[in-house]
């Protein structure tokens, strides 16, 4: 009698578990089905052209992809030193009674909803970037040949650079928390060996801790990158959502893949426009998933236990 009850119970639980797989399968399948008209019609030109014209039914999403890549790279460049630095401070330098609150505060950054970052970016960060940071960048780094093109052109204040800065703030807690886990997994013998040879603390970190933790930290950055790629609301509010050109300058107002979906989805009238937007979502899904898996692999090879992203 109890055997039957047990079997029923196990089957119910297994059913709930199977629902997760079913959801994922349905998700991938439906996105593929709905984007098929666009995939069949535009093929590879979807990724090589920047002509996004719903009226003429021409869809090329290269500039969306470019916007996503550019903002994510800016975010990683800014968040890496700060995130890894904060993790080093928490793990290597700070006494416990300081490390706890600092890591707690940095992790709270992950709790603030995307839309609140968007609001803050829209009213505080973007005007500040327009009036102070971007003119300064243009007048200094902007004068250097080649690199300077990144910081050239008219300044509007809603552009790829501002979106990158917002993203950097948003992925900071991910990078910090996971780097800290990784650093925690570095055996103390690594540090003690260096220190016993007379190395300074920084030399021990530089030559024994960081090289050992390299793979895991790369994984932490990968998880941050995956978060940056898919982030929508905060980016939508500060990225500008206008230009269809790909220029070398980070001061160009642009689109990212996710901001294009958020902006146009409810306004799209034609079936092919929907299909094109769903194709963008499908690409986003694939890229985010691949990076996520790769990063998880790197981190889990390093720090045991589940990884909180």
């Amino acid at each position: 009698m109890s055997g039957r009850g047990d079997r029923c119970f196990e089957l119910t639980a297994a059913g709930a578990a199977a629902a997760a797989i079913a959801t994922l399968g349905a998700l991938a399948l439906l996105l593929l089905v709905y984007s098929w008209p666009s995939i069949a019609r535009y093929g590879l030109s979807f990724f090589t052209t920047t002509d996004w014209d719903p009226v003429a039914e021409r869809f090329g999403a290269a500039h969306f992809v470019y916007g996503t890549v550019a903002t994510s790279i800016v975010a990683l460049l800014l968040a890496t030193p700060v995130g890894v630095g904060a993790a080093l401070f928490i793990g290597e330098y700070a006494p416990l009674r300081l490390a706890e609150p600092v890591s707690f505060v940095v992790e709270l950054l992950a709790v603030i909803p995307s839309i609140v970052y968007g609001l803050w970016g829209f009213f505080v960060l973007a005007p500040f970037m327009r009036s102070s940071v971007e003119p300064a960048l243009r007048d200094s780094v902007g004068q250097v040949p080649i690199v300077g093109t990144l910081f050239s052109g008219p300044i509007v204040g809603k552009d790829l650079l501002v979106a990158g800065v917002i993203l950097a703030i948003m992925i900071l807690p991910t990078v910090t928390a996971i780097s800290r886990e990784v650093l925690r997994a570095v055996p103390d013998t690594q540090r003690e060996g260096m220190l016993a040879l007379g190395a300074t603390k920084w030399e021990a970190i530089r030559h024994a801790v960081l090289p050992y933790a390299r793979g895991g930290i790369a994984g932490a950055l990968g998880l941050g990158l995956a978060r940056a790629l898919g982030e929508t609301m905060a980016v939508t509010m500060v990225v500008g959502n206008s230009s269809s050109r790909i220029t070398g300058s980070l001061f160009t107002p642009g689109y990212t893949m996710s901001s294009a979906i958020a902006n146009q989805f409810t306004e799209a009238a034609k079936a092919i426009h929907f299909a094109a937007l769903v194709e963008v979502a499908l690409v986003l899904l694939l890229v985010a998933t691949i990076i996520n898996l790769f990063a998880r692999l790197l981190v889990s090879r390093f720090a045991s236990g589940p990884v909180g992203a």
Binding site: Y93, V111, V124, L172
Partner: protein
């Protein structure tokens, strides 16, 4: 490990420094200050964002803010009651879906799951957890808005939120269930209690605090989601309890108010952000303190 170094490594006085040692010690100091300042920067950013939300949001908060609907264009006053009602009712429905599903998954993984199927489930949960929320929005749109229901609706919004909550609930709860000592299970089974009653009557109650933590964390996450709601629940200016039609939500309201050209609406957006951040902040603070105090 932090305490090991500095304290134990005796330093030679500077007057007897070896060649190059001065430079090395200076580099060490500089590196330490840089690293400390990055941590400081991280904390400062949070302080900066939160203080702006508080300072600019506080003036919007009054009684009408919680009890009235939005006023028409150009008219001052009013509140965000429809958005609060919408967010709460969607979260309620999302919890009704995500809590049983997440609990069931967690129980399966920790109590029964072995082999390829359990691996596949964990893999699927990992992928779902890392999925950009806008992609989940597009999925629910193509399933419910386009097909089953046929229009933007609160139900679609709730389903999107549930898909976001399920991986969080199941992963947190699974971890907690694994911490329940096997002796408790064995004791119960030895008394002749069937396995399912052991799980429901002994294992789950022992892990009660952890289960609540998982649910709270998932609510904190889902409550702030905007992008999927934009594609599913859409939004609504009026007070509505009808989940089969478009319904307002706090995050979408913030977005609409922020990008509109009215000063009063901007204040309302900051006010709504303050409400959202306070509620979500409290949820996560409470759960974090609770989990820190006791693992079970």
């Amino acid at each position: 490990m932090a305490a090991v170094s500095g304290a134990l490594v005796a330093r030679r006085p500077l007057s007897q420094a070896l060649p190059g040692e001065l430079r090395r010690r200076m580099v060490d100091r500089i590196a330490m200050s840089l690293i400390a300042s990055t941590a400081l920067l991280g904390c400062a950013v949070l302080l900066f964002v939160v203080s702006y939300v508080v300072v600019r949001g506080a003036p919007a908060i009054d009684v009408a803010f919680f009890t009235e609907g939005p006023k028409p264009y150009g008219e001052e006053g009013g509140g965000v009651l429809p958005a609060i009602v919408g967010t709460l009712s969607m979260l309620l429905l999302a919890s009704a879906i995500a809590i049983p599903a997440g609990l069931g998954t967690a129980i399966y993984l920790s109590e029964f799951g072995r082999g390829a199927f359990a691996h596949a489930v964990r893999f699927a949960l990992d992928l779902l957890a890392g999925m950009p929320s806008i992609v989940i929005g597009v999925f629910v749109w193509s399933l419910l808005v386009r097909q089953v229901i046929g229009r933007f609706s609160g139900i679609a919004g709730a389903v999107a939120l549930a898909i976001i909550m399920i991986p969080i609930v199941s992963r947190t709860v699974e971890e907690i269930l694994r911490l329940v000592p096997d002796a408790l299970r064995e004791g119960s089974l030895a008394l002749g209690v069937p396995r399912w009653r052991t799980i429901v009557g002994v294992v789950l109650p022992t892990a009660r605090a952890g289960v609540i933590t998982g649910v709270m964390l998932s609510l904190a996450r889902a409550g702030g989601e905007t992008a999927p709601l934009l594609l599913t629940a859409l939004g609504n200016q009026f007070l509505s309890f009808d989940l089969t039609s478009p319904i307002a939500s706090l995050p979408v309201q913030i977005y609409n108010y922020a990008v509109a050209p009215y000063e009063d609406w901007h204040t309302k957006a900051w006010g709504s952000a303050l409400v959202l951040v306070s509620v979500i902040g409290c949820l996560s603070l409470v759960t974090r303190i609770a989990t820190r105090r006791a693992r079970l």
